[in-house]
């Protein structure tokens, strides 16, 4: 289980970094989404991974058998924040793409120029 999750997180990070290093705005936003999901998975897995054990336990279940619920709660918060940010990002990138008439990030070099 840990191995599978670790590989998934690694692939998400790799995909995300590949995405943000591309020159297209669409791949940039996809990269950020993937990186966000990778971070969420990382936080999620930090509470421990246990199979089919409910959190609300009777007296016979040991506390070590269940996964820590706090990271799961944290991830929910992070996912909601992530939604808001991604929606804002997509709308901003769309407006920027219309204003600069290009979806190539290399065209985004005007504000860096020495005047």
């Amino acid at each position: 289980m840990e191995i599978a999750i670790a590989i998934v997180i690694g692939v998400l990070f790799a995909g995300g970094i590949y995405g943000i290093l591309r020159r297209s705005l669409v791949k940039l936003i996809l990269g950020i989404i993937l990186l966000g999901q990778a971070a969420n998975m990382l936080v999620f897995s930090s509470g421990g991974l246990r199979e089919s054990v409910p959190v609300f336990v009777d007296a016979s279940t040991k506390a070590t058998d269940v996964a820590d619920p706090i990271p799961q709660a944290l991830v929910l918060t992070a996912i909601v924040i992530g939604f808001g940010l991604i929606i804002f990002s997509i709308s901003l990138l769309m407006k920027a793409q219309k204003a600069l008439k290009s979806d190539d990030i290399n065209a985004f070099n005007n504000t860096d120029k020495v005047s």
């Binding site: 950020i32 990778a38 971070a39 936080v43 706090i70 901003l92 920027a96 504000t111 020495v114 005047s115």
Partner: protein, 489 residues
């Protein structure tokens, strides 16, 4: 009630969203800013008396609930935030167009302030992440407000790098929780002391370093700042320049004096190299620019280098110097941006090549610029000199000669940039007979600059009050057991 600095901007922000008339929302917002200033002053006196005040939200006791903590460091940062927000909102009365005010400029500024104050006051790492996000989303809206081409472009750069920084921050929090099983800052610090294989924490320490480094524009991560800070309205730039990078610096100071104090030796070498490079690259970036706003943006970076230099040296005097530097820098930098905005308003441009003759037309206005500019340059007796003196002396005492050499070298170039603005905009003979839009200067836009200049003068001549405060703050910061005991018992 130390949650008031978070609640007031929230309530004012919500009210501003409901109000349709812009005159009403601006009055409301400025009244709120006055209220916040009052609360901040009152909180500072309370904190000085009690040394530390903590509130457990929802009465969940410390390691389990979210704590709101006001220690000396947080109290002074909240106070300076209130001062800056008041000055900027006054300035915004005539600087921000009515169309933008109708798009809820004041509401978003208040939500930004809520995020800033929340970051200063929180005692929980995940809660800090949430406040960062509150601050970020408000700053995204503000930086692209108006929707001009340059703003959208700068906004994209600002947005992407900050999203990346949040993701790294979240990863750092996740790994830290996996190792320690707690997110309360005091509890983390307490558990760090007797944790086995502490080197496993280093991954979190470095992830947080990169995340806060991006936010505070440290050396390899600073390119977003000069690419975006000169694009929005000048009042917004001034607010960002004063407060946002300093939240990153505050988080860095908090992390490496409290959370990862046991790992400080490891991080110290990194901090020293990074702070030296930040100073040098920032000042060279400024030296080749010919636009007031871009020069000032690059100077934020080099000044952040000085503050982090204080943290890197890590002695009590150095941390005190860093805190004094932060306060001095927030006041001076915001003021310079606001005055740069006035110059831009007078001429319709902030390109130095097209300016000139301001000294001939108004020596008083020149004096207004002279005070913060040469304070930033570190000329005695201005506050910048005492700030630099503090960190450099601490560096000499701790035998960091290379770092001190870099700081002195950068000081010369800072002065070079300020004299460049002075020579080009004030002393140079003007091409035009009289300044084109001289009467666009209104009371509401000059008054905040005057008040901030007076604060700079106060810090210059009576700086010892702030410096002794900074010394007790650094003593408190370097003694984390005090913070831990105050929260966990």
């Amino acid at each position: 009630m130390i949650v008031l600095p978070i609640l007031i901007p929230f309530l004012i922000g919500v009210l501003c969203l409901l109000v349709k008339k812009t005159s009403l929302s601006s009055t409301l917002s400025i009244l709120g800013a006055f209220l916040q200033l009052g609360v901040a002053v009152w909180m500072l006196t309370e904190v000085v008396a009690a040394e530390i005040i903590a509130v457990q939200i929802g009465n969940w006791q410390a390691p389990f609930g979210i704590s709101i903590v006001a220690d000396l460091m947080a109290a002074i940062m909240v106070l300076i935030t209130a001062v800056i927000s008041l000055a900027v909102q006054f300035y915004a009365l005539s600087d921000i167009s009515k169309a933008l005010k109708q798009k809820h400029f004041y509401a978003i500024v208040n939500l930004l302030l809520m995020g800033v104050n929340g970051s200063f006051l929180t005692g929980d790492l995940f809660n800090l992440y949430v406040w960062f996000e509150v601050m970020l989303i408000a700053s995204f809206v503000l930086i692209t407000m108006g929707g001009e081409k340059a703003q959208l472009e700068g906004g994209v750069k600002y947005l992407v790098i900050n999203l990346l920084s949040s993701i790294l921050f979240l990863c750092g929090i996740g790994l830290l929780y996996g190792k320690l099983g707690t997110l309360n800052m005091a509890d983390i610090a307490a558990k760090m002391v007797d944790v086995e294989d502490a080197f496993l924490i280093n991954s979190s320490a470095m992830l947080l370093f990169v995340a806060f480094g991006i936010k505070s524009a440290l050396f390899p991560f600073f390119f977003w700042l000069p690419a975006s800070y000169h694009t929005p309205n000048i009042a917004i730039s001034a607010l960002f320049a004063g407060l946002l990078t300093k939240v990153g610096v505050y988080a860095l100071i908090r992390s490496y004096t409290l959370l990862f104090q046991t790992q400080f030796d490891l991080i110290q070498d990194v901090l020293i190299v990074v702070s030296a490079c930040t100073m040098i690259f920032g000042v060279f970036g400024a030296a080749c620019q010919y636009d007031i706003k871009k020069i000032l943006s690059f100077h934020i970076i080099s000044q952040i280098g000085y503050i982090v230099m204080g943290l890197a040296i890590g002695t009590p005097l150095a941390i005190a110097g860093a805190i004094f530097y932060t306060i001095h820098h927030i006041v001076v930098k915001t003021n310079l941006f606001l005055i740069g905005g006035l110059i831009e308003r007078i001429y319709g441009t902030s390109d130095l090549k097209k300016l000139g003759g301001l000294f001939k037309w108004s020596p008083a206005f020149s004096l207004l610029f002279f005070i913060p500019a040469f304070s930033l340059g570190g000329i005695p007796p201005f506050s910048g000199f005492w700030a630099k003196f503090g960190v450099i002396r601490a560096g000499l005492e701790a035998n960091h000669f290379w770092l001190v050499g870099a700081a002195l070298f950068v000081g010369v170039f800072t002065l070079f940039s300020m004299t460049k603005i002075w020579a080009e905009a004030f002393w140079k003979k003007s091409e035009v007979e009289s300044p084109p839009h001289w009467n666009s200067l209104t009371y509401s836009s000059v008054l905040p600059c005057v008040v901030l200049a007076l604060i700079t003068l106060y810090l210059s001549f009576f700086g010892n009050t702030l410096f002794s405060y900074a010394e007790s703050t650094s003593a408190q910061l370097l003694n984390p057991s005090f913070y831990i005991n105050a929260l966990l018992n």
